[in-house]
């Protein structure tokens, strides 16, 4: 079991409110990702759940028990740190088994569990090495091994892949998702990378300035962002925002349309503009277009689109894919 509920959680550092009235339910066995720009409070929120920081107000319930006054050691959660935070003076075996040793488990059980975890994570040949003799990816695996052997109520991941190179990051991302799926343990994962969030999460929590902006499945956030912040944060390249009046929609202060929902054409279309940059990445072509009163727009087009800077181009938005926002930045519902 591992259901985590946050009720009115607040955190202040001095005069600064870092976390403001956060209410959230993390269901047992789900993979929840906290995502947001740097400084949005996502890591702090994770540390509050871990118990590494004390809440200023509110409740944190783990399986129905308020743990606000419980030290981290007694919360039954595991954490994987961005810096890996392995014990440098211990072998891989002792690193992974440390939690079990602290729990006073018998040696035979520790050995068995450590070896099983090492086998799952392909660490068996390295069990007697020190962390410094391992590569970044292997260290990360040890950190994960340390988290899983304890069979915690939930895993907490604090930007665990930021220190890895791009190729390894993709690989580890898949491994972590698969591992969590196999174990069925609740996981909370913090990242600033919305691609990680979209690919791994059952549920994404978008945070900004210490508040939850929206909670939903990756596709819900992509298809129905509640506000301008979420609309701009989720999706790559970023959604285009156009003043409503300029786009011929005086009922909305801003309309949003994703680059992949605009059809580009050389001959005809609703809007027109001049190509300023054309990025050919093979599978796609990203066009950056100066569309006069509409502002600068990004359009994702097919890989074969042979356009150059300076070319005149026409654009047609997909009708059902236009997002409308009021002056306060909230989505105007029933737009579709």
């Amino acid at each position: 079991m591992g259901k985590i509920v946050l009720e009115g959680v607040e955190k202040t550092f001095g005069a600064i409110k870092v976390i403001q009235n956060v209410n959230l339910t993390v269901d047992d066995g789900s993979f929840v990702v906290f995502v947001g720009p740097s400084g949005c409070g996502k890591s702090t929120l994770l540390r509050l759940i871990a118990g590494l920081e004390d809440v200023t107000a509110g409740k944190i319930l783990i399986d129905g028990v308020d743990v606000v006054n419980t030290p981290p050691a007694k919360r039954g959660l595991s954490m994987v740190f961005q810096s890996y935070a392995l014990y440098p003076h211990m072998s891989v075996r002792s690193n992974i088994g440390f939690g079990l040793k602290m729990a006073g488990r018998p040696k035979a059980e520790i050995d068995r569990k450590v070896e099983a975890a090492a086998a799952t994570l392909n660490l068996t040949p390295y069990l007697d090495r020190r962390p410094r003799a391992l590569s970044g990816g292997q260290r990360q695996r040890v950190a994960i091994g340390r988290a899983i052997v304890r069979e915690p109520k939930a895993f907490l991941f604090d930007e665990p892949l930021s220190n890895l190179d791009a190729a390894l990051r993709v690989q580890m991302r898949i491994e972590i998702a698969r591992l969590q799926d196999t174990l069925g343990t609740t996981a909370i994962y913090v990242t600033h990378d919305q691609v990680e969030a979209m690919t791994m999460a059952d549920k994404i929590v978008v945070l900004s300035a210490g508040r939850i902006e929206q909670v939903g499945s990756p596709l819900e956030l992509y298809n129905k962002p509640d506000n301008l912040f979420v609309a701009g944060f989720i999706g790559s390249p970023k959604m285009n925002f156009i003043p409503g009046a300029a786009a011929g929609d005086p009922g909305a202060a801003t309309i949003g349309i994703r680059p992949e929902h605009i059809a580009a054409s050389r001959d005809s279309g609703t809007w027109s503009g001049t190509v300023t940059v054309a990025e050919h990445v093979g599978s796609d072509t990203f066009l950056y277009i100066n569309a006069g009163p509409l502002g600068d727009l990004t359009v994702r087009s097919v890989g074969e689109m042979g356009v150059k800077p300076g070319d005149r181009i026409f654009m047609t938005p997909e009708p059902g894919r236009i997002h409308r926002f009021d002056p306060a930045g909230h989505a105007i519902v029933a737009a579709h």
Partner: protein, 276 residues
């Protein structure tokens, strides 16, 4: 980046370094040489550098007159005892200042250090009276306590500087792994801080070994360490240079040997944090 230094420049610096080192070491060398002279040779003028007649009789006489090994034992007990007792107090103190600092942490550190700026003689009378009423005068326990107290600020500072170099993530990881505070300190912090703790202990042992103000003023016969043993040779009957030197040589020999073997550790300890 190291700049290329011309061989001549390097050579002259080496000579300079040797001269400075010899100047610093000369009193110790002179003491050792004098301890092998007869009393007559010791006061020769002009002085003889090497003993004209090598003799061990000073050492024999010193051991006969006052029990060297008893004082040696007292010195060992108070210097090691005060160091171990100090660690029990300073490790948690430095832990809290390094890993859980508050706005006032820097002030507390400065305040602790400021006690070292006070002349010890200023508190001699109150301390003496306290020791007297607690029956601690001339006791090894009392000396251990006072030496531990006077060296606390230095120990806290050194350990604090070391602990600051340890990534807090690793301690947090141990907390998440279920380690309560004492286990976190014993299993994770201390093993990682061994070099720092070792240099702190060494420095503290040396300081306690050489401490001569409190050890002289608070002891008589029973608890007197080697410092008091040396001082007893500057007596109303006159100065016996050769015997005084023999006593001094015997007193500094152990610490000199320890210092020699651990100099690498000591230098690293005192410059820790200055270079990465």
């Amino acid at each position: 980046m190291a700049r290329a230094v011309s061989p001549r420049r390097k050579w002259s610096f080496t000579v300079l370094a040797w001269i400075v080192a010899l100047l610093l070491f000369f009193p110790i060398l002179w003491t050792i040489l004098t301890s092998f002279k007869t009393e007559g040779d010791a006061i020769l003028f002009p002085p003889a550098f090497l003993p004209p007649h090598w003799t061990l009789e000073n050492f024999v006489e010193v051991q006969d007159r006052s029990n060297y090994f008893k004082h040696f034992f007292n010195s060992v007990v108070i210097s090691i005892g005060s160091t171990l007792l100090g660690l029990v107090i300073t490790v948690p103190a430095a832990w809290s200042m390094a890993f859980s600092p508050t706005k006032r942490t820097k002030d507390i550190l400065m305040w602790m250090l400021s006690t070292k700026m006070m002349p010890a003689v200023g508190v001699l009378v109150p301390i003496y009276l306290i020791f007297k009423s607690l029956n601690l005068l001339d006791s090894l326990f009392g000396l251990t306590i006072i030496l531990m107290l006077i060296n606390l600020p230095i120990m806290v500072w050194m350990l604090y500087t070391y602990f600051r170099e340890i990534p807090v993530d690793i301690l947090e990881a141990s907390r998440m792994d279920g380690a309560v505070l004492w286990k976190e300190i014993v299993y994770v912090l201390l093993p990682m801080a061994i070099p720092g703790i070792a240099s702190t202990m060494l420095l503290n042992i040396i300081l306690a070994w050489n401490e001569a103000f409190w050890t002289l003023n608070l002891t008589a016969a029973n608890a007197a360490p080697l410092t008091a043993f040396i001082a007893s040779y500057s007596s109303p009957e006159g100065l016996f240079w050769a015997k005084l030197s023999a006593a001094s040589t015997l007193a500094i020999a152990p610490i000199l040997v320890i210092g020699w073997f651990s100099q690498k550790q000591l230098v690293r300890g005192m410059t820790f944090g200055a270079v990465k």
